[in-house]
């Protein structure tokens, strides 16, 4: 018997209509745990580097984390992996909600989809019974609308549905997969689902999921709940409210948006409005938010409430989380009411809330600059809110100018030409980023932006404070109960860090310290993504309940495989290295490891090169950013080493 996981994969071939239940190899669990780790291994083994994102050979994998469906609080992530049509590298996207545990209860750890269906279909998984069914009646319907229709048709109110909207069907490069309370939005995975002709996956599971050492496992869970209570009663002092507690950023609860609206950029990541937040705005936005927010809601088995049900009068109800309430608002220089209205339509269409608003702001900038003209926007209303709705409607249908814009800012700029490339100034590896433009280079963030292969800062950062507290005393106080650090040196790094002077950015944290800090932060994210844990209870917030010291016990008690801190660290390193190798095999190199040119005003090329060198060295990569043969062998990735060598990826004498 397998513990913690079910031990079965569901293999679906949409070209042939094949459905297979396949036992998985427990050795894979020991090496890669599950979730992102195992997804990456499967992609490495089965998707050669020539594979086009939109092709029958590309796989679309819905992987549950190793601990999803166990009683571990907040462990509910589905990691969706494929090749991104936008970056053409491995797409990283993930969703909370209720889908992953349901799949586990149905008896599967992951669904691996290949091929392409000629007709639009959906997949219905009801324990052992799996069917590919006609979805032609759902064509063009919204993602949430479709999910409701399917639950009704199947008479399964408790089924969980992951579905795409029109954006996915029309292969918009930033189409999302929606799941009611949550969505997997980054990297255009919804477009791959649409390309495969798959409208939705509906799951209902009513089977037991076992853990190996029950009493021990329950004690660990109880400890986490107790700590969550403690942290809720004792928010971190001296940081903005958004960083004080646990969970994803508490955007649905909090009305005070001073931090986001005055530090992040408006428009096409262009304008900072330092004086934006006033008392009148706060009152108005409070009224807006409280009027539309029906209830704060959680994901599966989690006491936090990071999402909300939103009912804007006159519009269908939808659910929202995190930062998307502001992305449209700020890209359009509009207000919160507009943000809630357009997010409703965007959710039904199924588009990424980071990329879509930026693409639209980019299009309007091109119009203003005369690179695009009124003829490109026939019938577009004059007001900016109307323009955003108009653009969104065209993008998801790939109509007129919407067709180029549906490829995202990077590719659209190149299709449009005439200097449009200069307006694509906020992408990394062709992928739209949070709208931030800052002054002084921060070495830790430099490394995370440059090297992070999830290409999304929120999925790499966390744990280590973004800024030092003003006084040494305050910093010493902060580190007192900092039990989450893997090593005491991190406390010293933090205590020594000053807001100004010699011991401040960009030269402090030093190159070595910066590399260590990034290594810790990203490693914890890799662990979370393998276990299916919400980053909001682990790698993202300050002082989280899950950390490197209690995770090995969780994994051991759940699976019965003995894991210690070193084994866990090594597993995360293995996955991180494998993803790098996968992307290297698809052509990624050191020159791609860079933030947007204007992310910081003050740049330090020599220091940046040292940082990158230091990071590569720590990670076991060579100076081109390629994992060395030695490090691949040390991680047991011998087949990867051999493959890279055979393909001539190492330049002469440079393995």
């Amino acid at each position: 018997m397998r513990y913690g996981e079910t031990g079965f994969d569901l293999e679906i071939d949409l070209s042939r209509g094949g459905i297979d239940r396949v036992a998985s190899d427990p050795e894979l669990t020991r090496l890669f745990l599950g979730g992102l780790g195992t997804n990456a291994k499967i992609l490495w083994d089965r998707v050669p580097p020539e594979t086009e994102p939109f092709s029958e050979d590309n796989l679309l994998i819905f992987g549950t984390g190793l601990l999803c469906g166990t009683p571990a609080p907040g462990c509910n992530r589905t990691v969706v992996s494929t090749i991104s049509p936008q970056t053409r590298l491995m797409a990283y996207s993930m969703m909370g909600g209720f889908w992953a545990p349901e799949l586990k209860y149905a008896g599967f750890d992951r669904v691996i989809i290949r091929g392409r269906s000629p007709e639009l279909v959906y997949l219905w998984i009801h324990n052992d019974k799996v069917e590919i069914r006609d979805a032609s009646h759902l064509r063009g319907l919204g993602a949430i609308e479709s999910a409701e229709r399917l639950r009704k048709e199947l008479k399964e109110p408790n089924a969980q549905v992951a579905s795409i909207g029109m954006a996915g069907e029309n292969r918009v490069f930033y189409a999302s997969i929606e799941q009611g309370r949550s969505s997997a939005s980054r990297g255009g995975i919804g477009a791959v689902m649409g390309d495969k002709g798959l409208k939705a996956i509906v799951v209902r599971g009513t089977r037991d999921l076992n853990v190996a050492r029950p009493a021990e496992f329950l004690d660990l869970c109880d400890g986490v709940l107790k700590y969550i209570k403690h942290r809720e009663e004792n928010p971190i002092q001296g940081v903005p409210p958004i960083l004080a507690g646990l969970g994803s950023p508490q955007e649905m609860r909090i009305v005070d948006e001073q931090w986001h609206t005055t530090s992040f950029m408006w428009g096409n990541s262009r304008t900072r409005r330092k004086d934006f937040w006033t008392h009148e705005i706060e009152e108005k936005w409070r009224e807006t938010q409280e009027n539309v927010r029906t209830r704060l809601i959680s994901c599966y088995n989690c006491p936090m409430k990071c999402g909300a049900t939103i009912s804007v009068p006159g519009l269908p109800t939808y659910m929202m989380k995190c930062y998307s309430k502001l992305t449209y608002t700020m890209a359009a220089f509009s207000d919160l009411d507009f943000g809630f209205r357009i997010a409703q339509r965007a959710t039904e269409y199924g588009v990424d809330g980071f990329s879509a608003p930026q693409v639209m702001a980019f299009a309007l900038e091109l119009l203003e600059a005369g690179i695009l003209t009124d003829e490109d926007f026939p019938g577009m209303p004059p007001d900016v809110e109307g323009r955003f709705f108009w653009l969104l409607d065209r993008i998801v249908r790939r109509e007129g100018i919407g067709d180029a814009l549906a490829d995202g800012t990077y590719w659209a700029a190149r299709r449009i030409g005439k200097g449009a490339e200069a307006y694509d100034h906020n992408t990394i590896k062709k992928h739209e980023q949070l709208p931030l433009k800052l002054g002084m280079l921060n070495p830790v963030y430099y490394l995370m932006y440059s090297t992070g292969e999830k290409i999304n800062i929120t999925q790499i950062e966390g744990q280590f404070p973004q800024e030092p507290f003003a006084t040494r005393e305050a910093r010493e106080e902060f580190v007192k109960d900092w039990i989450q650090v893997p090593d005491d040196k991190f406390k010293k790094y933090y205590v020594d860090w000053e807001p100004r002077g010699e011991m401040s950015n960009p030269y402090y944290p030093t190159v070595e310290a910066s590399c260590d800090i990034v290594d810790w932060m990203e490693k914890m994210h890799y662990v979370d993504d393998a276990l299916g844990m919400c980053a909001g209870l682990s790698s993202f917030p300050l002082k989280p309940p899950y950390h490197i010291h209690n995770y090995p016990d969780f994994i051991s008690a759940a699976t019965g495989m003995d894991f210690d801190k070193d084994a866990l660290w090594q597993s995360a390193t293995r996955t991180r290295t494998l993803i790098r190798a996968f992307n290297v095999r698809r052509g990624m190199r050191r020159s791609d490891d860079r933030p947007p040119d204007d992310h910081w005003k003050k740049r330090f090329p020599d220091l940046e090169a040292q940082l990158l060198d230091g990071y590569y060295k720590l990670k076991g990569f060579n100076r081109d950013g390629i994992p060395t043969l030695e490090s691949l062998h040390a991680l047991g990735l011998d087949d990867v080493a051999e493959d890279l060598e055979q393909r001539g990826i190492y330049r002469h004498g440079q393995s």
Partner: protein, 179 residues
């Protein structure tokens, strides 16, 4: 009827505070697994959340008595503008629905307030609901002496007898008992 002092256990369900997380379902099913906590399966839970986010319906309901036949009427309630079926509030393991039945055998489930020796300070679902949607109280009351309390197996057998008749159940049991 004879009177006796008795601890009455009750849970106040503050549905307004429920965030729909289903932690109560997870821990209830884990607590009742054998061996304890060795597995979990919300479909076996003795508390269930009637959850329809788009209509803002969040209703924790505890499993009560098994019933042999479904109600004839199906009334509707409208509370705060939201429509509920009367079944949404009903605790019964009833032939009209899957709720409160073992998913494999179909045998009825009933909340036993996590009876345990030694007794727990509070039921597991209450302990795991950090949102205070489930509030536990104990009070002493004078009550009529109760009829014999049925265990899980007895409740199951009773439902089988209701469904198939005593003779068929006896015959089946006899067949199963190897000589």
């Amino acid at each position: 009827m004879a009177k006796a002092r008795k601890i009455v256990k009750s849970v106040t369900i503050v549905a307004d505070k429920c965030n729909g997380c289903r932690a109560c379902e997870v821990i209830c099913s884990a607590f009742h697994a054998a061996p304890r906590y060795s597995s979990n399966n919300p479909a076996r839970s003795r508390i269930r959340i009637v959850r329809e986010p788009l209509r803002d319906i969040y209703l924790p309901v505890y499993a009560g008595e098994y019933t042999q036949s479904e109600c004839t009427g199906r009334d509707k309630y409208i509370i705060d503008g939201k429509e509920y079926s009367e079944c949404d509030f009903c605790r019964a393991s009833c032939p009209s629905r899957d709720l409160f039945k073992e998913p494999d055998s179909g045998l009825p489930l009933k909340c036993d307030m996590c009876e345990d020796t030694p007794p727990l300070a509070k039921p597991k679902c209450v302990e795991w609901c950090l949102n205070d949607a489930l509030i536990y109280e104990e009070r002493e009351e004078e009550v009529d002496v109760e009829e014999v309390r049925l265990g899980d197996v007895e409740i199951g057998i009773e439902s089988l007898i209701d469904k198939y008749g005593l003779q068929q159940v006896l015959d089946t049991v006899a067949r199963r008992v190897k000589p």
